[in-house]
Amino acid sequence: MNLTIPIELERFRIEVREFVRAALPTDIACRQREGWPPTETDLRRWFGILAAQGWSQPDWPKEHGGTGWDPLQSYIFEDECAAADAPHLSWRAGSSLVGPVIYTFGSNAQKARYLPKILTGEELWCQGFSEPNSGSDLASLRTSAVRDGDEFVVNGQKIWTSEAHIANLIFALVRTDRDAKPQRGISCLAIEIESPGVTVRPISTIDNGRHVNEVFFNDVRVPAGNLIGELNKGWTYAKFLLGNERHSNALVQRTKREIRKLRDLAGQTSFGERFIDKPAFRRSLAQLEIDTNALEWAVIRAACTHGALGGRDMAFASGLKVVGSELQQRVADLQLEVLGPWVSPEFLEPEEGAWHGTFRPAEVPVDVPGTMTKALFRRAATIYGGANEIQRGIIWRSAFGGN
């Protein structure tokens, strides 16, 4: 065991920091700092900037156009992005998660068709797994794809599809064999959102945000060549993808940034009393930092040993998701605690590019509306990517052999 950070990595961190500081447009950082999710334009701009540097896919190997960084380097990269208020690549479902499925299981033609446009950010993907009656029990999904000549005909509905309203493609799990055991009859299809018969309908969420959608498929004809990997092997690919998602879902770098924001809020006089002056609050903050530090080391350990531990590795990844989501909620709850009565207004997302100088109810400081809105959305963290109870089930089964 050697737990010292190599000097090259420190140099790497400085290199990343300097790049991000110079390349990240001030207006994008500003919006992010105020707590608002990036606009679509901003996402694509930042993506483009990273792509030009060859850094748009920090987790992918070089041969597929990624950075080829080792997991610690990608970790540091995201740490620096979070610290500098760069947008989180929230359409990562498309970029960082679908990509590895394609380069691991897809055909050469598919790699050539899809990967380059993911790398440049020209095409964004969303993840079409959940259905109205198949959430935690994903394997029961019913959206069907029936082969008809050179095409599949897709019918059914997805729900909670993040960013489907800005995505170009949906990576959809579909049922291709109704008679097989549920897990054995699922396949993965890449479906263009613009295809005739696809309808995307927004779902408004408790933070008033625009995040998730319903996606309807009505006799959508999809070229057979869009089948990713083998027929009826979709469940394996989905598990592969979800395993990666649990890693990134810990979002510990973003939580570190939120803790800084919390300290900031607690130091302000706008909320009547400075919370940082209260011993009880300082204790909560200390506890939060201590727990976050433990998570950070856990995430780093997972990054360094990924794939080496089998079942325990799966269990550990689920543990990261559980702790990561709970910490995101704890920071948010402490932010609400500082805000006190100032949580009450319904803060509306400002128009794209014009968030300064707009009316702020109750005379709140400029970063409160976005922070509050984000805190509301944090309730989703224990639900998406597999609810925490599901993660605990995975831990039991994969680390302890189940019943």
């Binding site: 935690s136 029961s140 998730v212 706008s270 006190g340 009565p341 207004p345 319904e346 005379e363």
Partner: protein, 372 residues
């Protein structure tokens, strides 16, 4: 001792329940929240007045029912349960309790009109940088010939968008005082916005507003009177939060019973049964802390304050757990505005911070009971 509701209380409660079913359904609420430009609904307010809810706490000699806070809390609990988002707490409780104890006769004469809904009154205490205490407020009422000149800015005034009058706290030369201000006076400027629970509030600026002498409602011992009224409102909010929690438990249990995953109802998973059981225990302990505070609401100041704070700490913590878990147990549905649970969550966040939050009340309790 008797924990049962009286006959009158039950009648009022059932009336509210019927009203909610008929005129305040979740669907109609959603339609209202969806429309961008509405404000507090005066027509709705007139209906509410007709049902007598605004008269509950007004003394009989002023045209009200003269109920105690404990009696009135059955109403607030039911309003919480039904997710009725109207500024009833400020107008029918806080304002009424202040006016009832007012020095000025003209102020007390407002009470019958409040009961009928003819006069809509809001309370403007909050300021930027003022959390829950009035200490350090910057709104000023300077004595001038014939009255006062009012200058300052108030925030988060519930129902202020349609209010006819505002009760405004301000510092005079010597003391904290409360004034009755016509909302359409020269120099009053209001800016409206929606709150998380669908109610409307305003920020109000007072620029050299000239007030006659009679507008002074309370000019001495204001802090004591205001603190007491705020404690009463804090209990009203507790009742409302308990009503919300009761309902969250019902709809969440119902959801788990009807939602099928893995070929069975979610309610079949023992971990979820236990989760609901824990939330039930939380809610019942909150209710008991609330009863304890109700029993002390007319006690000497220190006893009352400690009891109210104790209740609020318990209730606020329960509200957080129940609200958070209510959302979580609904899965994706918990995040959707189409479903009631998210609306309860938003309401509970606000209630847990109305008239004092956990930190405020823990600190007050500690000051009164531990350090003393």
């Amino acid at each position: 001792m008797n924990f049962e509701f009286s006959k009158d209380q039950l009648i009022l409660r059932d009336g509210i329940r019927r009203f909610v079913d008929e005129r305040y359904s979740f669907e109609s609420r959603r339609q209202r929240v969806k429309s961008k430009s509405t404000g507090t609904d005066r027509a709705m307010w007139a209906q509410i007045a007709e049902l007598g809810w605004l008269a509950v706490l007004i003394p009989e000699e002023h045209g009200g029912l003269g109920w105690s806070i404990a009696d009135a809390c059955v109403m607030f609990q039911e309003l919480g349960r039904g997710l009725v988002s109207e500024p009833i707490m400020d107008s029918a409780l806080l304002a009424v309790r202040i006016l009832t104890r007012a020095d000025s006769v003209s102020a007390r004469l407002l009470l019958p009109k409040i009961a009928t809904g003819e006069v809509f009154i809001s309370v403007a205490l909050g300021e930027a940088g003022l959390r829950y205490e009035q200490k350090g407020l910057s709104t000023r009422a300077i004595p001038i010939e014939g009255g006062y000149k009012l200058t300052g800015k108030k925030i988060l005034v519930a129902g202020g968008d349609v209010a006819d009058r505002l009760i405004v706290s301000a510092g005079t030369d010597s003391e904290l005082a409360l004034f009755d201000v016509l909302a359409i006076s020269d120099g009053v400027e209001r800016r409206a916005y929606r709150l998380l629970d669908g109610q409307w509030a305003v920020d109000v600026t007072f620029k050299d507003v000239v007030l006659p002498h009679e507008s002074l409602i309370i000019g001495s011992q204001t802090t004591e009177i205001l603190d007491r009224a705020i404690d009463e409102a804090a209990l009203g909010c507790s009742a409302e939060a308990i009503g919300c929690m009761d309902r969250v438990l019902e709809i969440t249990a119902e959801y788990l019973r009807s939602r099928q995953q893995f070929g069975r109802a979610l309610a079949d998973f023992q971990v979820l049964q236990h989760r609901i059981a824990d939330l039930f225990i939380e809610t019942e302990m909150a209710r008991s802390a609330f009863h304890s505070a109700l029993s002390a609401i007319d006690s000497p100041v220190a006893t009352r304050q400690a009891a109210v704070s104790a209740a609020r700490v318990r209730i606020d913590q329960a509200a957080h757990k129940v609200g958070n878990q209510g959302v979580h147990l609904h899965g994706g549905m918990g995040m959707a505005m189409e479903y009631p649970i998210g609306h309860y969550y938003r309401r509970l966040i606000m209630l847990a911070r109305a008239y004092g939050d956990t930190e405020h009340h823990l600190e007050r309790y500690e000051r009164l009971k531990i350090r003393a």
